[in-house]
Symmetry: C2
Subunit: 284 residues, 2 copies
């Protein structure tokens, strides 16, 4: 089987595989790149994880994830910033261990409204301030912080950054090499401003990651798991992918699917299905 | 009990009450205005419904709902346009039957992607064309067509119009008296452009309806029912209401809640709870 050379399998798609198994499955399916998550890296320990990634011969396309920046000043917020500094170092180490063409990209999720708060404006200001507090660390480590706008249905409990335009408003306050954005099809496909904002992101050199998976209906009980394999839902990946490519994005394209049924399936089967779905639906 | 004079109880909040019972419950709770739905009006027949509304002494704040404009050209689309023409006439008749200060406002939901289609752009064009086809009828009847942007989580299956800005881009192609927008807190609260777009809507005289209910988490299995009483969720009704008032909106404020638990409760209890929640959380 031959996988597209720009396809990256985000580890969340085969969530129940540990890091070693995920690396094996990815390579065995012919996929050349992997998007990593911090939890399975931590389970192995960073230095062992770095060695396994180096041994795999795979590229690393991103590390998921940092962020969660909306807490008020205090110990919780300091802990979040400290944890993100660790994540920046992990990103640099893992990308350096990956094959040529690896991307030192740390995906950031903004965080939701703090418990009991209804102040979106304040929460968004704290996201900006946190990125400001981390930008020097990221620059020094050669890491790009990639702000991921999440679908508006997560605005209360997960991410107060909901659109690509809003993510760009934040990112543009910093150097393009240090702070970029993630274009995740699932989160942004519905946005009437999408194509204009992708073009804007391209002009600024801000697209740090492009992730794909489909929007399926009806939504499941847990809307965090409302994602499907490309082609199983409603997203026009042709228009979207062409726009991202026209905007100059030349990196790996991650398939990241949170879906219980997919997680319950053997990882190797899912990797193969990912290769096929990508070939059929992502015109790169 | 004294209800706020601008409070209107949208009939969907007490969904299992028929029209007569809804009118009785609304009046008995001290609420002066009601937002009607077509189905319970049809169940009684329009002429009887008009008489009952006139007898109630209540204002009518809107009729829900027309729209569903995304089908391709053909019999289905012609049927949708014809049905909307009927809804325009119903709106005019019911508003005329309501007490002074009633609003002849027909709420429009755009419709989702047609079965099997991934073409959001085409679907949105058909929404605009349908409004264009209905504008003369609405103007002649003295009815305002009110485009309601729905939360982006409904973009695939219910409404390809997802933001207030997008609704205004559509509405502004027509006279302000003929085509306006609905500001529904549940659908738009997350939008980083919200306050700017409300101000824009106000400048153009485009706010035809303001609806409130809260965004509660976690979302229920059926996300159509993910609404709560004001104060039970995450929305900052102070900032939002002040913005709508500052934009010049002087009409009724509808409480519209789709929530199974609320529907399972006695309508009179819900009306009372609505009066209290409105008084506490909506600074009008």
């Amino acid at each position: 089987m031959s996988a597209h050379p720009r396809l990256s399998l985000n580890q969340a798609t085969i969530k129940y595989a540990d890091l070693e198994h995920a690396l094996d499955v990815t390579r065995a399916s012919g996929i050349e790149s992997i998007g990593l998550w911090r939890e399975p890296v931590a389970a192995l320990g960073l230095s062992v994880a770095v060695q396994k990634v180096a041994d795999s011969g795979l590229r690393v396309s991103s590390l998921c994830r940092g962020g969660f920046f909306t807490e008020q000043a205090g110990a919780g917020r300091q802990a979040a910033l400290g944890d993100n500094r660790v994540a920046i170092e992990e990103t640099a180490a893992l990308a350096a261990a990956g094959a040529d063409g690896s991307a030192a990209v740390l995906v950031l999720v903004a965080g939701g409204l703090p418990e009991g708060s209804r102040d979106l404006v304040g929460a968004r200001e704290r996201v900006r301030d946190a990125i400001g507090a981390l930008a020097d660390d990221a620059r020094a480590a050669g890491v790009t912080l990639a702000i991921e706008p999440l679908h508006p249905m997560y605005a209360a409990d997960r991410a107060v950054v909901s659109t690509l335009g809003q993510a760009l408003d934040l990112a543009e306050q910093f150097d393009a090499g240090t702070v970029g954005v993630v274009v995740d099809a699932f989160h942004v496909w519905w946005d009437p401003e999408l194509l204009a904002q992708i073009a804007r992101a391209g002009r600024g050199g801000r697209i740090a990651s492009y992730q794909v998976c489909d929007w399926v209906t009806p939504l499941p009980l847990d809307v965090l798991l409302a994602r499907g394999m490309m082609g199983d839902g409603h997203i026009d990946f042709t228009t979207l992918t062409q726009a991202v490519l026209a905007a100059g994005y030349s990196g790996d394209i991650e398939v990241e699917i949170f879906n219980q049924e997919i997680w319950n399936t053997d990882a190797a089967v899912i990797a193969t299905r990912t290769v096929e779905s990508f070939a059929r639906h992502i015109p790169v």
